[in-house]
């Protein structure tokens, strides 16, 4: 896997190098404007938020969400970096302001110029590790991941990289297993010496890798998952962890609201995987639904993460309870199995990084018709109109059309890219994490805007709905705030 990605990277780097030797004056202005995204850090606005230039092909709702006070990114200033070290101004040993909330602050050590931990960073490159489940029990197509990884950074590299540095992506398959994820992340940190690690998908894998990354002082970013695990430190206490979207717990008000909006007055069930990491979520979800539904909360149950032979029993109990809506937070394979044997019509509602993937709709329709899942990235109906994404994806993958996994990875990569860019030329792990704490708001137009007043920077989610006439998830609402 690593080899293939590396080889691909080499090819891309070569291509990029050739492009760069071509005088830049020949470039079209459109290209130059896109450089903004990665080439030059967006300016830090007064309220500490950063947003890129709008690049969506049309003025869709996602392009510039209602980010309060967000300022459009800096004007194009050619290739050179003029704001190097910008983020380190005022760098002192004080804790970046604006932190607090549920979690601990990002690390207190602010970068000194030229100091700090610069593992994985050279004058010309930044090494980044991404892990995701390519094989194993995850319902995620292997090809999709291979195609998705590095799309954004390829594009940025072609445009000169981030603050003059090319981003080199290492990708590892975590096989949807926490032990493998930890081993892969260890490899990233100790062998590949990456600067930071990105978790692609899978809560348990993200949890395992995040804990390792904290012990190895490697910044770790992922979409939001759970917040706590019994007997273990909460994720918010990990010194290097940052969630780029709402955690499951933070989404419980959204689930309750969706129930009220679509199923008010009808019976509802809450089904959660029996992972201990979801204990906290389950409690909060049941609480929120009870508050919204009262006695209409007809059934609640924890089920095996990969429900197989128990599926008929669970489906039978759901139907007997009379529930019309099911708040669901368990694996896609469980969802598909239970939905397949349901003998009544129910609407699923849930947080859904993987449950909201189109592969689930393809296989699960019509059993999961109108299932609503909250996702950190919008559906393909929106993403297909994001020209920059579509072009970048096609450019990296020989013209093939993007899928939603491509969007997911692209969204994470571009958000990380923005933070890297905002950190400036003087890049160290400390300065990088300090930037997150200081800037707080990043908005790449795909993920909802972030606000890192705590480790969990998410502020909103996109609501997707399974449209069985198209066999895919369509975007019902964007940037729904709790």
């Amino acid at each position: 896997m690593t080899m293939m990605i590396t080889r691909k990277f080499q090819a891309v780097a070569l291509a990029a190098a050739i492009t760069l030797t071509v005088p830049a004056c020949g470039q079209k202005s459109g290209v130059a404007s896109q450089v903004v995204v990665g080439g030059v850090p967006g300016q830090v606005a007064a309220d500490g938020s950063i947003v890129p230039g709008t690049t969506a092909a049309d003025g869709s709702a996602v392009g510039v969400p209602g980010a309060t006070g967000g300022v459009t990114g800096g004007t194009p200033t050619g290739g050179g970096s003029t704001t190097g070290g910008g983020s380190t101004t005022g760098g002192s040993k004080t804790t970046p302001s604006g932190t607090g909330g549920g979690g601990e602050a990002p690390p207190a050590t602010a970068p000194r110029s030229g100091g700090g931990d610069t593992t994985g960073v050279t004058d010309t490159t930044i090494k980044v590790g991404i892990h995701a489940p390519v094989t194993g029990a995850a319902a995620i197509p292997q090809q999709s991941f291979e195609k998705a990884v590095g799309v954004y950074f390829d594009m940025v590299n072609k445009k000169g990289g981030i603050n003059g540095r090319k981003v080199e992506v290492k990708f590892e398959d975590d096989q949807f297993r926490p032990d493998t994820a930890r081993a892969r992340c260890k490899k990233f940190a100790e062998q590949d010496k990456v600067f930071l690690i990105i978790g692609g998908a899978g809560a348990d894998q993200i949890d395992a890798c995040a804990r390792y990354a904290a012990s190895a002082s490697v910044p770790y970013l992922s979409a939001g998952v759970h917040e706590t695990r019994p007997g273990q430190a909460p994720l918010s206490s990990l010194s290097t962890y940052f969630a780029l979207s709402l955690t499951y717990e933070q989404q419980t008000p959204l689930l309750a609201r969706t129930y009220k909006a679509s199923y008010n007055g009808q019976k509802v069930a809450v089904i959660t995987a029996d992972n201990d990491s979801l204990d906290n979520f389950h409690g909060k979800a049941v609480g929120a639904i009870k508050a919204a539904a009262g006695s209409n909360l007809a059934y609640e149950r924890r089920i095996p993460k990969n429900t197989t032979s128990d599926a008929p029993g669970i489906a039978g109990e759901i139907c007997r309870s009379g529930a019309k809506a099911v708040v669901w937070n368990a694996s896609p394979s469980s969802l598909l199995n239970v939905a397949k044997v349901l003998t009544c019509k129910v609407g699923f509602i849930g947080p859904g990084l993987t449950n909201g993937l189109n592969i689930v709709a393809e296989v699960g329709c019509d059993n999961i018709a109108n299932a609503r899942f909250y996702s950190p990235f919008p559906g393909m109906d929106v993403m297909r109109r994001n020209a920059e994404f579509v072009n970048a994806y096609k450019a990296s993958n020989g013209g093939s059309a993007p899928d939603d996994l491509g969007a997911a990875i692209y969204g994470v990569e571009s958000l990380v890219g923005m933070i890297l860019a905002a950190t400036g030329k003087d890049l160290s792990r400390e300065s990088f994490m300090a930037t997150i704490g200081k800037v707080k708001q990043f908005n790449n137009g795909i993920y909802p805007p972030t606000n890192f007043s705590s480790r969990f920077g998410g502020t909103a989610m996109h609501l997707l709905r399974a449209d069985c006439s198209k066999s895919e998830f369509v975007t019902e609402k964007v940037n729904v705030r709790p």
Binding site: P304, S309, G313, G316, L336
Partner: protein
């Protein structure tokens, strides 16, 4: 959701008997092979999964009709059974039974490996049902048409087998299974009988796999230890049948299914994870220690 216990029990037993039909089909194959070759066939369930994969491929990738796909799946299952006989069982015919057991386990693993490999790109596989209907029994159990069809196929298959074993060629098979040398002397080809045995066993496995496939989504190893894991229950049913009795295998399969489904009673489901596996383990120990010669042995038992 607090149903009274007797209602829970009625629902569990209904579900158990329906699931038991799959186990019974697998158990029939196991018994048949044991009588024929004295082998514990750990590949029996994988004959089924392989047949299911083939049927699925024919239906969804090739777009063949359901009956044709079904027949194709059966053909592949039978081919795998015959191949196993030819490549593994026959060369090892003089080896000990444990060696043969390792051989069949190897066939199972090979089949699982092939399924993983060839269907690596298809992540979630779902076989359509023959009939989508279902109904609810008066006591609240849900019965799908697919499950009823399986039960019907089991009944029909068992009846056909019973008829077959009363026919001259069936009797010849039984003779060959019991006395190899003597059968050769009176002109029964033990080799051909062995092939026939494995072919029929694989066909039973194929039926189990292709019929149970639509119950849930499936993946590699589906019928061995996947969503409808039937290898262990099938063996338990065969043990109940004293490893010999065909009617016993059917009864044993239904019983094992019912016992396993006791795990869905609230007492178990809410306190013990994976209670089904625990119940099966304890049940197996009790049966083997108390009545190792089986329960449903009938008159088919031989010395």
């Amino acid at each position: 959701m607090n149903l009274p216990l007797y209602e829970q029990l009625a629902i569990a037993l209904t579900a158990g008997v329906l699931r038991g039909a799959v186990y019974a089909l697998v158990a029939l194959g196991i018994v048949l092979v044991f009588r024929g070759s004295g082998v514990f066939n750990f590949a029996q369930a994988e004959f089924g999964t392989t047949g299911l994969f083939a049927a699925y491929w024919a239906l969804t990738v090739q777009g063949w009709s359901y009956p044709v796909s079904f027949a194709f799946g059966m053909a592949v299952a039978i081919a795998l059974g015959l191949l196993t006989e030819r490549l593994v069982i026959h060369p090892l015919r003089d080896s000990s039974r444990v060696t043969l057991l390792v051989g069949t386990a190897g066939v199972a693993l090979a089949a699982i490996g092939l399924q993983f490999w060839l269907f690596n790109e298809t992540l979630v596989m779902s076989m359509p049902k023959i009939h989508d209907g279902y109904f609810t029994t008066p006591w609240g159990a849900i019965v799908t048409m697919q499950e009823l069809i399986t039960l019907g196929v089991l009944a029909g298959g068992a009846a056909l087998l019973a008829l077959f074993f009363r026919s001259p060629s069936g009797l010849a098979i039984q003779a060959a299974q019991q006395e190899r040398v003597a059968s050769e002397l009176v002109g029964i080809s033990v080799r051909r009988v062995s092939m026939l045995t494995w072919g029929i066993a694989a066909a039973l496995g194929g039926l189990a796999g292709i019929l149970a496939g639509p119950y849930l989504t499936f993946s590699a190893g589906f019928l061995s230890f996947g969503a409808v894991g039937s290898l262990l229950p099938g063996f338990m049913a065969a043990v109940l049948a004293g490893m010999r009795s065909m009617p016993g295998a059917v009864a044993g399969g239904l019983l094992v299914g019912a016992i396993e489904q006791l795990s869905s009673l609230e007492v178990f489901a809410e306190s013990i994870p994976g209670a089904g596996a625990m119940i099966l383990f304890v049940f197996l120990l009790v049966v083997l220690l108390v009545r190792p010669q089986g329960i449903f042995v009938g008159r088919a038992v031989t010395a």
